[in-house]
Symmetry: none
Subunit: 523 residues, 2 copies
């Protein structure tokens, strides 16, 4: 199987999506996940233009990735600077990576009106910038920005820019459809002309989705020299986005017989797509090819009937190949073996075929359908199992709580919570204020419980995430709250789901405290 | 300009989308809008399988459309029925339309395993069903279901099914990629083989998006015999959706020189896309090619600078051609020129070098540092500018609100909000319950305001996002709320930031309502 190089720019082009804003920590977690998947190259950012990106590269200069290679991105030198003194190029070197990517201008319109230099000067800038980086032992990917528009406007000049890059020593020439306006047959014709004119044996491609054609434009030359594809997970990116690598990897590997990632990882493609959307805090689209929640969902009797007779009837691939699953819109099928394993951790021998296992399985499916997501909240899952397997020990009884947020005419805002609970038949009724309703409730709960369980003072919350599940529900939408807590030894995560954010937070808060008490009681 | 026939199946295939459920009234309003746009054919539904669809056709038997032709959809006769007694075919006749569409089986797997008849019997069914409809003076579109899969499995048989349809008198043979798994070069090769084998001068195409290729698969044969394209507005449809007619019409007409709709209507393409998403009650995706809210949005200083010099620099078409517009996204990356441009939209001449511009620029930077992200909340930014430029008109005064969430011993949870405000010196004090505190507040605000501003009933929230900014702050962390709202014409987004989620939601809610009132007051 011929390998196609996958070059991910989620952290650079993808982070340009309107509404996506990644912290350095977010970027690190995505990079680690891409590394786990063995994505060949990860474009980490533009260190010169964005100080946040510098922090990211600093992190990975100490903590190396296992499989992927990290690449910083930048432009050719500024027209006024000699390459060796260009801060942008120097910032690339400072990332201490094997590869760097720089982009340059291919389109005479850009050279003239945006860069505002003579055509020959631009050629020299491209050549010298790459040569400088090569001298410093970097391998260089050259992104020929607007290449196809440039080729249409002035073929001769566009070709000259590529020759300058090649002569400068670029390791791969990447043809970019920056405005996303080129049609696939144009892409193919132009790319093959380039290959011919420059006697290339291979080239790369970088496409944008402004005409809804980024996927096809990225694959139309595979098999004819294109062996390097740039894109983003879920097609994130400015305007209409970049080429979606998830779809592209699915097509290359499952339909065209090329290798994009290892087959084992292909089976987790849906997970990758989900993970990235989660970190980007963007809802995962149900209609994503291959990995969407609806991609193998069958509705309507005729289709369901046919698919039961033979899945091929209405499925273009086996959903398991990408970690997705067939759904008959209402009922879902998840594995019971996980439950057995988890029960074992609680020293409970659960028979996979028992009615108890069946009941538990149904309960989990029901909760997941309601929006619980236990893989991100194992402590809550542990407590759930304890309850179902009658191993649960109650640490307190809630009698009630009340949260008040009041905005008065002087514009002052007050959040207050009162809570009434019982521990070993002793009642406690406390009140606390806070920065917002959830914090007030959190404060009141701790105030009430720490009296009885002083060890609670050892733990604290480290992470509080809120996710609206059905965003189209507007302010009545269901909300999922994930809380991460830690003490000196462990960290654990808990979950709550409700239309009421106070209730969802309450569930996660209580689980967090109960799990701490449970795990310490075992010792 | 050669005309390509546009055949819309939003009301049939599109209504199969998970999460979309259209009432008869919804369908009628979409049909009228498609008629206004001069879409050639509107597949209204499957009257036999869906009684709601019968009502729809009854409505239009009295009230004719002006430009479009309505088409009912159905299957070939049931194997046990002679065509003349098949209830499904008879229900098509009862719609009293000039055209009807029926689908039949092309794939031997389906004939054998789903239909469970002999191959020759299926050929006869196809032939007789069409012949019967033709005798009753109907023009017939024949949808060859799973044609490409069928052709790959048994070329000879698949071709025979088409010949049966042609011999029965079908007016157009439509090749369907029902499972959406075929690659564009396969589509082209097979379609041209068909054209050749059957000596066709034209054919139609119907594609699904399971591989993210429905758009290219629909247009790959235009110019080589394909003159009829079936799809849906915004690509709605089961699983990963159907071919998106909005993108297809954009490409055909603006990039390939064909005629899909009148040029005047092309300028309202964005409106069509919005209108349909609104009736389907689905948020309009910002990254839609041509018509998305982000499709011509520029972020980052380099791009903005270049586009100001020449829009071609980063735009594949002039956004006005489809009724969209260029936007300079406000973000920490952007400079003062964006402010000037935005002020101009408010008919305010802001001098880039004035102290006012400097002050404004500093304010935006300060707010963005606090967690505001105006690029995702242009309506809030617009209101902010109005306030700073003294162009702001207050629609109401808040005197105070109070939100109470109470959990009682019976585990019942109650959320109630009270609100006191003044409009034109009239006081309003109302209360409302809700699914959670934000929804209660939302309900109370609308209840209080709709009395004075009945147009608020036209708008609704489509998206509600919560993002914890400094997650490590635990329950006291700062929260950013983004709300998206829409009415029949526009969508707009607003923002609120606070440690208190109620306060953050309140800010976004108020902006959302104020923006609606502001934009309607301009007319």
């Amino acid at each position: 199987m011929k390998k196609i190089i996958i070059y991910d720019t989620t952290l650079r082009d993808g982070s340009q999506t309107e509404g996506i804003s990644l912290s350095c920590r977010d970027k690190i977690s995505i990079a680690k996940k891409l590394d786990y998947f063995g994505i060949d190259f990860i474009e980490g950012g533009w260190p010169y233009s964005n100080p946040k990106d510098k922090e990211f590269f600093d992190y990975f200069s100490k903590k190396k990735l296992k499989k992927s290679r990290l690449v910083p991105f930048g432009s050719t030198a500024h027209p006024r600077n000699p390459a060796g003194k260009d801060k942008n190029l120097l910032s690339l070197l400072r990332c201490n990576t094997e590869y760097v990517t720089i982009f340059g201008k291919s389109w005479n319109l850009h050279v003239r009106e945006v860069l505002r230099v003579e055509g020959d000067d631009n050629l020299k800038i491209i050549h010298d910038s790459i040569k400088f980086l090569r001298k410093r032992k970097r391998k260089v990917f050259y992104d020929a920005e607007h290449f196809f528009d440039g080729f249409k406007a002035d073929t001769d000049y566009a070709l000259k820019t590529l020759k300058a890059a090649r002569d400068g020593g670029a390791d791969e020439l990447v043809l970019c459809d920056t405005n996303g306006g080129t049609l696939p047959w144009e892409i193919k014709e132009i790319a093959l002309r380039v290959k011919d004119e420059l006697s290339l044996d291979r080239f790369g491609i970088h496409c944008h989705n402004d005409s809804g054609l980024a996927v096809i434009n990225s694959i139309v030359c595979v098999g004819e020299g294109c062996d390097h594809i740039q894109g983003t997970i879920n097609g994130y990116g400015e305007r209409c986005g970049n080429a979606d690598l998830v779809t592209i990897m699915g097509i290359l590997q499952l339909k065209m017989g090329y290798k994009a990632i290892s087959p084992g990882k292909m089976k987790e493609l849906m997970y990758l797509s989900h993970f990235v959307s989660e970190v980007c805090n963007v809802a995962h689209r149900d209609n994503y090819p291959f990995v969407g929640g609806s991609a193998f969902a069958h509705k309507g009797g005729v289709h369901i009937d046919a698919v039961i007779k033979n899945p091929l009837a209405y499925e273009h691939i086996n959903p398991e190949l990408v970690g997705n699953k067939r759904r008959f819109v209402v009922s879902e099928l998840a594995g019971k073996s996980t439950l057995v394993t988890k029960a074992k951790e609680l020293e409970f021998n659960l028979d996979k075929k028992s009615s108890r296992a069946r009941k538990l399985h149904k309960l989990v499916q029901k909760l997941e359908k309601e929006g619980f997501q236990f893989e991100a909240a194992e402590a809550s899952f542990n407590l759930l199992l304890q309850k179902e397997l009658k191993k649960y020990k109650k640490f307190f009884d809630l009698l009630g709580f009340k949260v008040i947020v009041e905005k008065r005419e002087d514009d002052k805002l007050i959040s207050e919570a009162t809570i009434k609970l019982k521990v070993h038949n002793r009642m406690e009724h406390t009140a606390a204020e806070g920065d917002g309703p959830v914090n007030a409730l959190d404060n009141a709960l701790r105030k009430a419980l720490t009296k009885f369980y002083p060890i609670l003072a050892e733990m604290h919350l480290t992470d509080f995430k809120v996710r609206v599940l059905n965003e189209e529900g507007g302010t009545a939408a269901k909300v999922r709250v994930l809380i991460q807590s830690q003490d000196a030894k462990d960290n654990w995560s808990t979950i709550g789901v409700s239309e009421n954010i106070i209730e969802a937070s309450w569930q996660a808060l209580v689980d967090s405290v109960e799990y701490k008490l449970f795990k310490d009681s075992k010792k």
